[in-house]
Amino acid sequence: MRDGNGGILATWTIVPVSGPPATQPYQAAYVVSGSVVSSYPLPMAPTQVVNGSNGLPVNASFVLGENGVAFASYGSNFVSFNLGSGSANWNYLASQGISSLSYEDGGGVVLADNQGNQTPIDTNGNAGSSIALSASMLQPSWTGVWQGAFGASNIGLASIVAPLMDWGHSFWSASGGSPSPTGASQEMSWFPVLPNCSGSQQPCIYDALDDLVSRLKDPTLSNLAQTNIFNKLGSQYTTAGFITYLTNMKPRFYDGLRSTYCSEILTHDWSETLCFQNPVLRYTLNLLNTDVKDAFTSTTDALTMTPGNPLLTFFRPESIGSSSSGQNLGNEALIFHEALHGFTGLQDDPILTSLGMNWASHASCSITVRIQNAVLSHAVGLDPSVQWSAVIPCPIVGDE
């Protein structure tokens, strides 16, 4: 396992050809720049060699956390330990075995067992509530969506509706190094997920999106959007086209405050091919780029790829209201606003001008307020407790 900083945890198993077996057969050495920093028996490892079906010793698998903490799993037991000294922090026994371990934001891990259950383990080794996902070979993807196999033959691979995996900042976040188990050190993550809504299996913003789409299908609201927004932006834009844009491919919403994605890609000034996750390449070839997390000023709410299909938006988590499971006026107006960028390819100032507002005296959030006032405030039953200007600050001129 590489530590992403020039170091490596090398492990081996002692199997004597003759004589008594080793009392601590599982060993490790932490090597940095070719020098052994420390060498130790793996903590809480089996005292006897465990052989696999091929007769060879089964190797432990590893996941790297932050601040020198790593995790080793041995079949049904896994341990948190200090990478430098090898001392154990805590140990957890998974009675159902371990299918995969993934390092989570905040310092804990998410364990998927052999029975299709997903269990979060916090930084002190305490297990949270398990969720039965009824799938085998469970593994989270780069975007946090859980995937697994169904059926006796384990052939049917599918995405699973479950709380998204919120990857932690690590250089070996899953057993294979990353969600792509290539054995290479990868820094996580370009696309950190937004917090889930309480009682929901997805971030609030997706609940808001679903509600927005269904409301825009209502003829009254559709006509208002067409008349007050799309007609002013250009004859080629329609509400129907906007709905298709939002539904054809699932919009991608992520946490902007934690993303190391190159912000220049959002304005098409840089290629994703040249935005590297590899730590060495990032700090050399991407030295002149600005991470999305750094592009967020103290009052930036969202950054959207303009244009972009599917819609790719990075949000400030605090800008998303959780009222009514995210299905509120403020959230839906914000999505509408950001989706306009992705849909039309227009930046804030031409949209403001097209909507009849002077960009010098208005802020970009005036677009959100206009959408609120001219379209979504007419939606029946939409929760107004979170809305722009009245609740979320935005300088108001009066003509929004």
Binding site: E264, D294, T300, D301, A363, P395
Partner: protein, 226 residues
């Protein structure tokens, strides 16, 4: 509060501004490298010994030592033992012929080295103009992208974003202008020092030539830059 945007941070600066900052670092590196070389050559840090006029006439110093002593202002101009341009004793011995040869060779060596130093000073002066040009370019090129970035901020109107943009652009310009000022001052100081060393060497050479009947060279320093 537009002034709050005036601070430049590496992480948040756009790519063209980061490139400019890298350029400024390189320029400062070049300036430091050449300055150290000039200071080393023009000062007595090299622990060179002082050379007296008498020692030159007596042929007691070698070419390299004489040239470097002249550069570091370590040639002492003082009265010499009775000798003059018409003295028959001066050219009468092989030793004195050797001294004349040394003096001429030292003159060539001195002009070669000082020519290189003048090249360094000229480079620093040229960098002033290049830096000034790039500073202006960064401001002109970066104005609109910076305004777009600032306007993306939800809490600011276009006019406030414009003020913040002006503030940021001026901050970037001031970085460049500061580098220009440093380069201009350093190149000015070195140019002055080099001119003084050259004048003093010409004076020393003339004096020595008078004592040794050597025809003083009339070359100007610019013609000798290698």
């Amino acid at each position: 509060m537009p002034l709050m945007f005036a601070h430049l941070h590496w992480a948040t600066e756009p790519m063209h501004s980061k490139l400019f900052m890298v350029y400024l670092l390189v320029v400062y590196g070049v300036a430091i490298m050449h300055s150290v070389r000039l200071v080393w050559g023009l000062s007595s840090l090299g622990a060179r010994k002082g050379v007296s006029m008498q020692a030159i006439i007596d042929g007691e110093v070698d070419v390299e030592a004489l040239a470097k002593s002249a550069l570091s202002n370590r040639v002492l101009i003082e009265s010499v033992r009775g000798a003059g341009p018409n003295s028959n004793e001066n050219l009468s011995s092989l030793r004195e012929k050797s001294a004349l040869h040394t003096l001429r060779a030292a003159d060539s060596r001195f002009r070669y080295i000082i020519g290189r130093y003048q090249g360094s000073a000229a480079l620093l002066r040229q960098l002033v103009w290049l830096t000034l040009l790039l500073s202006s370019l960064v401001v002109i090129y970066g104005a609109f992208p910076t305004l777009a970035d600032q306007f993306n901020d939800r809490n600011v109107t276009g006019s406030v974003a414009m003020l913040a943009t002006v503030s940021l652009c001026f901050s970037r310009l001031s970085l460049g202008l500061a580098a220009c000022a440093v380069l201009y001052a350093v190149s000015g100081i070195f140019t002055l020092m080099l001119q003084r060393r050259l004048n003093r060497w010409q004076y020393t050479y003339s004096l020595a030539a008078l004592h040794g009947s050597i025809e003083p060279t009339r070359r100007t320093p610019k013609n000798d830059v290698l």
